[in-house]
Amino acid sequence: MSMDIFMQHLLNGISVGSLYALIAIGYTMVYGILLLINFAHGDIFMMASYFMIFAVVDFGMPIWIAIPLIILLTVILGMLLERSAYKPLREAPRMSIMISAIGASFLLENLATYLFSGVPKGYPDIPWLTKVVNIGNVSFQIVTVVAPVLVIFILIGLMWLVNHTKTGMAMRAVSKDFETARLMGIKINTVIAATFAIGSGLAAVGSVLWGAKYSSVYPLMGVMPGLKCFVAAVFGGIGNIPGAVLGGIVLGLGETMLVAFFPGLTGYRDAFAFVLLIVMLLVRPNGLLGEKSTDKV
């Protein structure tokens, strides 16, 4: 394999990984606070893509208005989901909440199939993201470079939010001990709503970059990225934001390199994430950056 082709795969892997990272952050934050696998997260990402299509294709909005608008809509959808599907079950056994999450995910998928039909739709073209640039023999879309840079900025922003603001402090407290945080006067519901808002917003950002890269939108598009990004979050250490980013990038790179070096395994690309999960759980169950936690009785 020549250097150029390797660079090409490397760039591609990092950019896919950054997209995974954006979605994985949403998983890891929700899990850190509610100990809930938000199965519907991938479907929120899917709905964000549909919002974009409606805004640009059906309502003819310019891209620069549409992007903030769909981020806002997705945030509202995420908070609505939390309010209707998870909040009523806060005192219920964990398995009920998980089933509710599966139900919500399945409902969103079926609603999308019913309302928008299962036929894939094209994502609106965003010229300043999809333009192809050549450097030497390596050619890539601008989004390939934008995605990782954006992820780094978002990561810095989130770390500041979590470590240096009052909301962030509340989030850390809630994730340490739900009950005690409530007794200390932290408004649990506000903190949880904020977490869902951030997660959904990042999923919307991810969907814009995803759309620029893959340009096909269908009701089940969120399923595979959703599952894989949860794996990425576990890989990096669940509940840990830099871990989710690291996990996403490792997963994206690993997948791309697997296909690049072993073209015969192309069909197994989607299986890579789950093999990674099982190996990781065997070797280091707390993830790369996760802390070892002990249950106290």
Binding site: M95, G103, L107, L111, Y114
Partner: protein
């Protein structure tokens, strides 16, 4: 208030007799038609899968979502080993079946058991690393596993015929096969649940740390429960293949598992009888709901919301409503008992007479 033991036994005997007579009548085409028979057979197969899912989710308190994958293993084992040798070339017309595999033809029952064993071994392989951890990882690992199985089956052209699937599987000729299998499989699981192993499962469900402190080997019991559940799921998958006479990997998309999830939530997590009742209600109900997918016109006016896809929306709404407002399901963690029925009838009776007295 309790009934005497004798009355209870008589009631049970009558119930079994009625079931046997009904199945015989259905089987000899005295009542019902092919469609109803098929739905009932499917419900019996779903009952096996749901009870085995309940063994893991309801009785041991772990969260497994791999049913579709284990079903696929059972279904494809039966398909690959029981397809008649003369029809193999016409099914595998793109790439021929691997010769060593085509040489092995097994009887249906043996193929069922082989499928079950393969599933159980795979369950142990996933279970060993994953079950040491919190139950959430099992959910994702099993969901991922069921997707991997589907991907692998789509890729193995010479063994499973890839995306084309396998058809011409010898079909089920009598309703006694699925119903008999259901009785045997569920019977074995009930015996297991009532044994010391079953009590250990329930202890783990209630509090795994306390159970461990009581000397229960957590990893052993969790793996046992998961492997047995997978074994019976694969057996039911084999029956499913034989009922449909054709399988392809697309049928085992992981959303299939959500059917069983709905069944165990409706029936009650941790209730075998509830699960059996719910699997008949849900399987029948899902067939009945098909009218949602047909265009509906009332007095010449077409109601626009009735079109393809509405059934699944209703189905998923049902799951949400159940878990949000009716979390205990029909039975909760209780089992069906004549005392329960008797007390319920008495309660309704007194309530009615009180109403009458008041008026």
């Amino acid at each position: 208030m309790n009934m005497s033991k004798k009355t209870k036994n008589i009631c049970t005997a009558i119930l079994i007799l009625v079931a046997v007579i009904l199945i015989t009548l259905f089987d000899n085409d005295v009542i019902g038609n092919a469609y109803i028979k098929r739905v009932l057979n499917l419900a019996a197969i779903y009952a096996i899968i749901s009870v085995s899912m309940n063994l893991v989710n309801g009785f041991t308190g772990m969260f497994s979502l791999g049913q579709a994958g284990f079903m696929a293993i059972g279904a494809f084992t039966v398909a690959v080993f029981t397809v008649p040798a003369e029809s193999i070339p016409s099914i595998f017309y793109i790439e021929p079946m691997a010769p060593w595999l085509a040489a092995i033809r097994l009887p249906f029952v043996v193929a069922l058991l082989v499928g079950g064993l393969i599933a159980a071994v795979l369950a142990l392989i996933i279970g060993y690393p994953v079950l040491r951890l919190k139950s959430d990882y099992l959910a994702i690992a099993t969901l991922g596993f069921s997707e991997i199985i589907r991907i692998v089956f789509t890729q193995m052209q010479t063994i499973t015929n890839g995306a084309l699937g396998i058809k011409c599987i010898p079909g089920i000729t009598t309703m006694w096969v699925p119903f008999g299998a259901a009785a045997i499989c569920i019977g074995i699981m009930v015996l297991l649940i009532n044994s010391s192993y079953g009590r250990a499962f329930k202890a783990i469900r209630e509090d795994d740390i306390a159970a461990e402190a009581m000397g229960i080997n957590l990893s052993f019991h969790k793996n046992l429960s998961f492997a047995i559940s997978s074994f019976f799921t694969a057996i039911a998958g084999g029956l499913f293949a034989s009922l449909l006479t054709a399988v392809d990997p697309k049928q085992f998309y992981f959303t299939l598992t959500y059917n069983f999830l709905l069944i165990i939530v409706l029936g009650g997590m941790g209730s075998v009888t509830g699960t059996i009742i719910a699997s008949f209600i849900i399987t029948g109900g899902l067939e009945w709901l098909r009218f949602f997918d047909e265009p509906l016109s009332v007095m010449g006016y077409n109601i626009p919301i009735f079109r393809a896809g509405l059934r699944m929306v209703v189905f998923s709404l049902l799951l949400m409503i159940l878990v949000l407002f009716y979390r205990k399901g029909i039975m909760g963690q209780k089992e069906f008992s004549w005392d329960g029925i008797y007390n319920w009838i008495m309660k309704v009776k007194t309530r009615l007479s009180r109403k009458k007295g008041g008026a």
